[in-house]
């Protein structure tokens, strides 16, 4: 039961995401994959290992419009849940399954996909120093962006049934503000993108993560022109239309109500989130 989605790609790689708030990382992974894939397809020089037709085999999920990413409805839910359980023994999302190989943790999944499908170099540059910049950001963001950002999620009160206490909200906002300052001063500086002149996984992960509080009503780009400019560049790099499409779900998050989630899922996320606070 529950709104779980299993994405099937042509290559037989399954990525499980759960269309529920608590798995914002699952939703974000899907978004990131979609954005990643769009760029792969438009790459002028197909990377090594492509199919004879010359198209990058990867992200066939790009070719599948969002709407067709099999929403597991009532009745089908049970079966899908069991399959999903096999994929990830800890019932966590996001998860990837490639043959008998299963993988969790969104950063690990992204890196795996990038390497397996040999996406264009700029996503995870071969250049040692540029790659290090991407790694640096991906590491830093775990505790500095992800953590405070999670606490600002509008979905939190929805799941826990309680509004976020104002002092916690204040603390989380303050932490996020500090992180954004560091992001601008240390990671972005006066470069167009984190790794330099081209968009990379770092920018993608950063922006997708920052869209979360934005969609919760925290206008963090408003008084940060440099960040806003960077955001435009990232959207441009992946294609504005796709970017918006990928964020549709989270932009409409306010329309979500608690009854759309399976009760046991809701309960389990509630426990998890309450503990974090």
């Amino acid at each position: 039961m529950g709104n779980k989605k299993l994405l099937r790609w042509d290559t037989g790689v399954w990525v499980g995401t759960a269309e529920v708030c608590g798995s914002r990382s699952g939703i974000q992974l899907r978004r990131t994959c979609a954005l990643l894939s769009s760029s792969s397809e438009s790459s002028p020089a197909p990377p090594a290992g492509v199919t004879p037709s010359g198209r990058c085999h990867a992200p066939a999920c790009r070719a599948v419009p969002m709407g067709r990413w099999g929403r597991a409805g009532q009745g089908q839910g049970q079966h899908k849940t069991e399959e999903f359980r096999k994929v990830n023994v800890l019932m966590k999302v996001p998860a990837l399954k490639d043959g008998s190989f299963t993988l969790a943790e969104s950063i690990a999944i992204l890196l795996y996909l990038v390497q397996k499908f040999k996406t264009p170099d700029h996503w995870y540059p071969a250049d040692l120093q540029k790659r290090a910049r991407v790694d640096e950001y991906l590491s830093w963001q775990h505790t500095n962006i992800q953590l405070p950002q999670t606490q600002l999620s509008v979905l939190l009160p929805l799941i826990t049934g309680q509004p976020l206490p104002p002092e916690k909200l204040e603390l989380a906002t303050e932490e996020l503000n500090v992180a954004l300052k560091e992001f601008e001063e240390k990671f972005l500086q006066d470069k167009p993108f984190i790794a330099g002149s081209e968009v990379s996984l770092a920018d993608l992960v950063a922006l997708v993560e920052l869209m979360q509080p934005v969609c919760a009503g925290y206008a963090l780009f408003e008084e940060r022109p440099a960040l806003a400019a960077w955001r435009s560049r990232v959207e441009e790099a992946v294609g504005k239309e796709l970017f918006l499409e990928a964020h549709q779900d989270i932009m409409n998050v306010k329309n979500l109500t608690a009854d759309q989630f399976a009760p046991e899922l809701l309960e389990s996320f509630k426990q998890h989130l309450l503990k974090q606070n």
Binding site: D98, I109, S139, T143
Partner: protein, 283 residues
């Protein structure tokens, strides 16, 4: 299983700078910090030439003066404190930090990966096989939000905060942290280690290194998490063997003698300034 550490560790004097001096790689480290230990062990174990730039986190940024009496433990130094250097190196003002010519880098994982690539360390550290590699990435990612969420707090609760506030913390605080850590350790054993010798299989990798240094933190402050966990204990022994026992203990000397910190005099103003910051650390 041996990692890249077939040779024995050199004597302390000469091992400070194994390679070119003045130019080339600099690592800004304080061995009280877990990520710094991972880097130190990795670089030394792989004979990567670097200049050890000692940053004393607590002396330079936080605490007052250390007593003049030399402690029993010899501490690795490369001359006077280089906190200013580290400050310039890393805008994040943290350790660890790397400086390679004009290139500066922070974040332990990023630095480990950079070093492994630049110096072509043995494959098992970060395998070229993408599935094995993914296992390392998976662990490194999970580590941040799980082990690293609780293990460091043991030091704050048992040593640093009492040092600053002059009072021990209520036992529930430690209890809470140890419970969180316990949950993470259970997951570590069941999901990552299982019944393998190391996280990715039969050979040590960056994942094991990053994990072990973190778990030594509670050990240093008297919370021996290996005590009732035979499987973890065995894994620890294998990791020590793989990097070289002498190197391992050299890297951990400071944290294992952390009680010396309590001899340090702290400026009362500093104490006042830092109390809210320290309490925040517990959240």
């Amino acid at each position: 299983m041996r990692g890249g550490s077939g040779r024995s560790v050199q004597s302390r004097g000469s091992s400070r700078r194994a390679g070119r001096v003045g130019m080339g790689l600099e690592l800004y480290l304080d061995l009280l910090s877990q990520p710094c230990r991972a880097l130190y062990i990795f670089a030394r174990s792989n004979n990567i030439p670097f200049e050890f730039k000692h940053v004393e986190l607590f002396k330079d940024s936080v605490l007052g003066k250390k007593p003049a009496a030399a402690s029993g433990a010899e501490q690795p130094r490369a001359g006077p404190s280089n906190s200013e250097g580290a400050g310039k190196v890393s805008l994040l003002k943290k350790v660890p930090a790397l400086k390679d010519g004009d290139f500066t880098l922070a974040e332990c994982t990023a630095i480990l990966l950079y070093l492994s690539r630049k110096y072509n360390t043995p494959d098992h550290w970060y395998p070229s096989d993408i599935q094995q590699r993914a296992r390392v990435d998976e662990y490194l990612s999970w580590h941040h939000t799980n082990i690293r969420a609780n293990a460091p707090k043991t030091m704050w609760i048992k040593v640093l905060i009492p040092l600053f506030t002059g009072q021990p913390l209520p036992s529930e605080k430690l209890q809470e942290v140890m419970e969180g850590l316990s949950t993470s350790l259970k997951q570590f054993e069941e999901r990552f280690l299982q019944d393998k010798a190391f996280i990715i299989g039969s050979e040590i990798s960056l994942a094991d290194l990053v994990a072990i240094v973190e778990l030594m933190q509670p050990v240093g402050v008297g919370c021996d998490i290996f005590e009732d966990r035979p499987r973890l204990r065995e894994w620890r022994r294998r990791v020590e063997d793989a990097v070289g026992k002498e190197l391992f203990f050299q890297a951990h000397e400071m944290i294992l003698n952390i009680k010396e910190l309590s001899n340090i005099q702290i400026d009362p103003q500093l104490k006042e300034q830092l109390a809210p910051v320290l309490m925040k650390m517990l959240k």
